[in-house]
Every structure is written in C-alpha cells, then in structure tokens.
Symmetry: C2
Subunit: 341 residues, 2 copies
DNA sequence: CCTGGCACTCGGTAGGCTCGACTGCCAACC
DNA sequence: GGTTGGCAGTCGAGCCTACCGAGTGCCAGG
C-alpha cells in the first residue's frame, strides 16, 4: 500500500510529532536517519501522503502532522516492526510494585491504575474481572435492626457482594423477626454455596411463607447485579489529562466522559470484543467527545477463564510504543498476580 | 470594623466579581443599588479598602478584585445577613433525589456527591461516616481455596469490611484445613458479634495452636483498619474543576490533590474540627496547591452520634450563598436519610 | 465630608513590519 | 523516470506602534 520510503517518512513524521508536538517539515525528516533522500524528494512524497490522507498541514507553509489514519498506519507497522520496551527504571518499578502488592483485590487494582498512569504519564483505567464465573464461598442474610437487612456473599475470587433488602412487615406492623432471617440465611447458604454467580438456580421452598418470601427477595437481589459496574472501575491519574491538552475545554470534556463509568466500561469491552488493542480517534472508538484521544487496551487473563481489562486514555499523539509496552507488561503481571490468588 | 458604606461597597464588589469574573470599577459599584454615593466617593473608599487588604488591583487603572480577606468578610457578613436559598428547580431536584434514593450506602453517597456537584456546579466530596461507633452484626472467616482466606464483617450501619489473610502452612507444606478455619470463624463470631468496631478486645484462646494463630491474625487484620479511607471518599463532578480556571496548570494541580484521598479526608476533618464552614484560600485551609480554591464543608449527623462529611471545592470566587445553601440542605437531608437506615 | 472634573496610567486590540520555516514547482542531472 | 538543488511564494509568530477605553488619583468647590 505504501512503498518503503513513504512508510519510513510517515514513521519519521509521527515519531517527531509525538516527541515535539510541532508540525514537522521536510528538512527534519531529511535529517532523520533511516530516510535517505533530499528534502525536495521528501516534500514530493509528503504531498502524496497528504493527498492519501495520512498527513495534514495545519496551514500552508507549515509542516505536517499525522491524521488518525497516519497514526493507524504507524501503530500497525509497529507490530511487525518490533514493539517498544520499557526502560530499566520503569521495569524496576513494575517489578517492585508486584512483589509489594498484596491485600484486597480492589485496593490492588486501584493501585495498579495509578502505576499504569505513572508509567505512561496518561490516564489509566482498570476494570475488575466480571465474577460471572466465580463461585459463592459463603452467603448469609444479616438483619441490621429496623426494617433493613443485608445479603452478603463472599466469592471465590475474593470479592464480596452485598445487597440491601427491606424486610417485609407482619400484619401487626413489626418487621419479621430474627428467627425468620436466620432460617432464610441458612437455607440460602445451603442452596448457593459452591454455585457460580452466573447460575443461581432457584432456592427450594421451606413451606414457611415469611421465610420463603425473604428467600425469594434475597435471590432476586443477588441476581440483579446492578452494583457490578459501580465498584469495579478504577481510574488512575485523571489529573494527567490536563497535561495532554492545552485547551481547557477539551480537558473538561474528557474528564466528563471518565466520570461516566458505564461509558468507560462499555468502551473498553467493545474494543476488546472487536479485537482491537489501539483505538485512534472518534472514528475508531466512536466517542465524539474523545475525538482527540486514543485508547490502548489489553485483557487481563488470570488463571481460570476470563479476567479483567486495563487500558490507558491519552491524546492521539501519545507515545504508542511505550504505551503498548506498559499496558502489555502490566496486564501480563497483573494476570499472573491474580492467578496466585 | 468596617463602616456600613465600606461594607456595602465591599459586598457589591464581591458579588459583581463572583458573577462576572472581571475586575470591578467604581462606576459599576455606584450603579449598584444599595450603595448611595458617587463614583468618586466610592473610589476613595475603595482605596481605603485596598490599603486595609480587602481588595487588590491586578494593575493600575484596572478595577479591583477581592482578596481572600475580602471574601472572608463577605462570607462572615452573610451569616447574619440571611443565607442564600436554592431556587425552586434545585429544591425539587434535591427532594426527588432523596425520595428516589435507596439501596447500598456507598452507592447513595456516590450519587449524593454528584447531586451536590450538579447543584453548585463545583466539585463535591462526600465522606462516609467513620464506623468506630458501629457494632459488628456478623463476622466470619472464609477460606478461598489456596493459601488465602477472607475475614468479612457486617456492621450495623450497613457497611461490610473485609480483610485478606495468608493462611499459615503446616510442616508438610499444606495450608491449614477447613476445620481450623471454621473453628476460628465461629470463635470469632462468638467473641465479636455485638461489639463496637472501635473496641474489639481480645479473643479468648481455644487452646488449639493453629486456631488461635488464625484467630489472632484475623483480629489484627480487623483492627488495622487501613482500608477505611480507601472506599469511603466519593468525589463527584471533578470535571467541573476545568470550568473554574482557565489556566490548565491550575486544573492539573487541583485534580492532583483530589486524587490523594487521604489529603482530602484530612482537609475536611480538619476544617470541621476547627469549627469552620468555609475555608478561603491557602491561608485558611493550608494547602498551597489549592491557593485559588475555597472549601465549603458541613457535617452529616445521622441518628446515633457522629456522621459523615460533605463539602465542595471551588475557586475562591465561587457563589458562596448558593454553595452554603446547597451544602446545608444536602447535609441535612442526607443525615435524615441515614437515620432511617 | 462629598462630589464633579481632569489628567494620567495601563491593558487590550488592531495594524504594519520583519523574520523564518515551510511548501510547490521547475529545470537540471543521474 | 526518479531524484535533486534552487527559487519564489505563503503564512504564522513575534515585535513594535498607535489608539481606545476603563478606571484611578487627586484637587478644588460646594
């Protein structure tokens, strides 16, 4: 599609622009090693690259900057060309992080998002694994005094799910008693322990109306997992977004999107489903407010089946080789870490 | 300290500057109702106000803008002067929010931070109540397979605390068995159920070494509550920070602070301890990166004893009457809501 | 003590100028 | 034909100047 020289020139332009954020002219490219041609030749080639949509000039008599298509070519050529590496300091940081890491899953994921953000100097997103596949280790119903009760389930992957219930009232206006709650709790435990969260089945009735009612409500609460999205997204280094753009309006827009966790989750999932690792600009990821942004994602595969997702969000002129390397390394080590438990 | 006319002029300057973000000149003040004097007189008064540190001019021949001291006077005079009101639409929004609100505590607090942010158009912070006073309703130790186990405690205020443990190894290299875990779990439950989280006491020994060891570790894990800060801070509308300043560097700094939850929690707690409702500028809140920011806080008092904290963070030239009104209303209604359970 | 008037200051905007970094094109060359 | 050096043309950035207007400080008169 692009002959070798055009490809080399395009690569040079992208690399220079990523580094300097300034439009790059033919002379700069001519000086770059790897391109053996005079500036005039390069001018000719660049004008073709522009006609084909890989480059644009902000105005006549300025250098050129890559279009989203240009970045796309660069990223694609990168894969075969040899991926980037983290420098020694960064590798040490990752290593020390994962040997140090311990404790709650949520805490670790949150810290991981900050690590990834530090490594890339962009905003990072970490999404916890869905626990469809996890099995229930323990479940109970706990009355909190008053009319409310809590259904608490401990899952095999170390997460805890909880749902609030309103206790039904007796005819006399008093909430159902501790005995009923305890009965429902043991019944629930008997039925659910060991089951995967995705297939709760139906709890067998006890015959006692109040208990069965509570049992049904508990099952329904556990099944309706709308709290899933809520606690499972970790955004690290959002403030770094402010470095990436100098228009405050752009920063505002991007931060606004980051606050909508649902959108972020959907975005990353969608990219993985489409088999993409990098999405450049609105055409590829589909979010107009993020028109000037690219997304780099990777799945996190733990031991058993599906894992979580990590990604970074930055300006389209981000350092792709480094971003890809960072995301790859972190996803791999995080996966291994989660495998261990 | 300030005669009536100076006070009126200062108020007028503050109000105008809050609205327009432009330095305000003597003529504007003269036109404002509530100040009966010619622009020349006002000029004289303003020059005194400047000498006394309430106003500054960005440069000669420009209008004046309030200093932090000026804002302080404005806010103080506000209290006696009659606090601001939310408009009808906003009051309706608050009302509908709290009738709609239900479900998990954390989810509700997170939504509340977004509500408060919408009302004030600034960034809002909500801190969950500390659960020193809450009592333990249920506690158990759950093995997760492998070497890890989880201590899970359900508290009377509806929160769930969990801690990860590494199971000790037998001499043969196998982790301690399910029997030991179960024994420790029932023992722990027997000892802790009904106790306030602040005073765990010491669990009585069983005599069996493996069980006692696990018991000790569980107690230690529960006592070392370092996860408290982690899940208990909710920041809403951080993107609105980008509207408040037009220097992208300022936005960056403020967002950076917001990411350090510990700093935010300490800040709000500190202000409440000092009995402050409003802290204006670095002199009052002590954080240099937030030099151009003010903080408005209010405690949230639920039924029993100490509650959480809510607050907003915005530029020093925020609309104080509205901010105070919004924080007051939300804190009050949130407190009532939490009382109900 | 207040007020109107006047001189002065200074930031912001617009126009004109130069400088420099580009490009596009063309003629010459390999 | 592809490549190259040279040259004219373009346009933004930076700088200077002039001008306008908002606003102040001061003063003399009521």
């Amino acid at each position: 599609m692009l002959d070798d020289r055009k490809a080399a020139i395009l690569r040079a332009v992208v690399e220079e622009y990523i580094e300097t954020a300034q439009p790059v002219g033919s002379q700069h490219v001519a000086r770059a090693r790897g391109v053996q041609a005079s500036s005039a030749t390069i001018r000719n080639e660049m004008s073709v690259l522009e006609r084909d949509g890989y480059l644009v000039q902000p105005h006549t008599s300025a250098g050129r900057i890559p279009t989203d298509k240009g970045y796309r070519f660069f990223v694609d050529s990168l894969q075969s060309w040899g991926a980037g590496q983290l420098n020694a300091g960064q590798r040490a940081e990752v290593k020390s992080f994962f040997t140090r890491a311990h404790g709650e899953l949520e805490h670790m994921l949150s810290e991981t998002s900050q690590l990834l953000s530090r490594l890339t100097d962009h905003t990072a997103v970490v999404i916890a694994p869905p626990h469809e596949a996890a099995t229930i280790r323990s479940v109970q119903v706990v009355g909190l005094g008053g009319r409310t009760a809590l259904v608490v389930a401990v899952l095999s992957n170390g997460t805890v799910e909880k749902r609030t219930l309103e206790l039904a009232l007796h005819e006399d206006g008093e909430p159902v008693g501790a005995g009923v709650v305890a009965a429902a709790s043991t019944r629930l435990a008997g039925h659910l322990t060991g089951r995967p969260v995705g297939q709760l089945g139906v709890a067998p009735a006890t015959g006692e109306a109040a208990v069965d009612h509570l049992l049904g409500e508990s099952m329904a609460a556990l099944a309706g997992g709308h709290s899933e999205e809520a606690g499972s997204v970790f955004v690290g280094g959002a403030s770094r977004m402010a470095n990436a753009f100098d228009a405050v309006a752009t920063v505002r827009q991007v931060l606004g999107i980051l606050e909508e966790q649902f959108v972020v989750v959907t975005l990353l999932r969608d990219l993985l489903d489409r088999g993409l690792t990098v999405a450049i600009g609105a055409d590829e990821h589909g979010l107009t407010p993020l028109a000037e942004c690219s997304v780099v994602v990777a799945p996190v595969r733990g031991g058993n089946g599906e894992g979580g997702t990590i990604g970074i969000l930055g300006p389209t002129r981000m350092n792709y080789p480094q971003a890809l390397a960072a995301v790859a390394v972190v996803s791999q080590r995080l996966g291994r870490r989660m495998e261990e438990g």
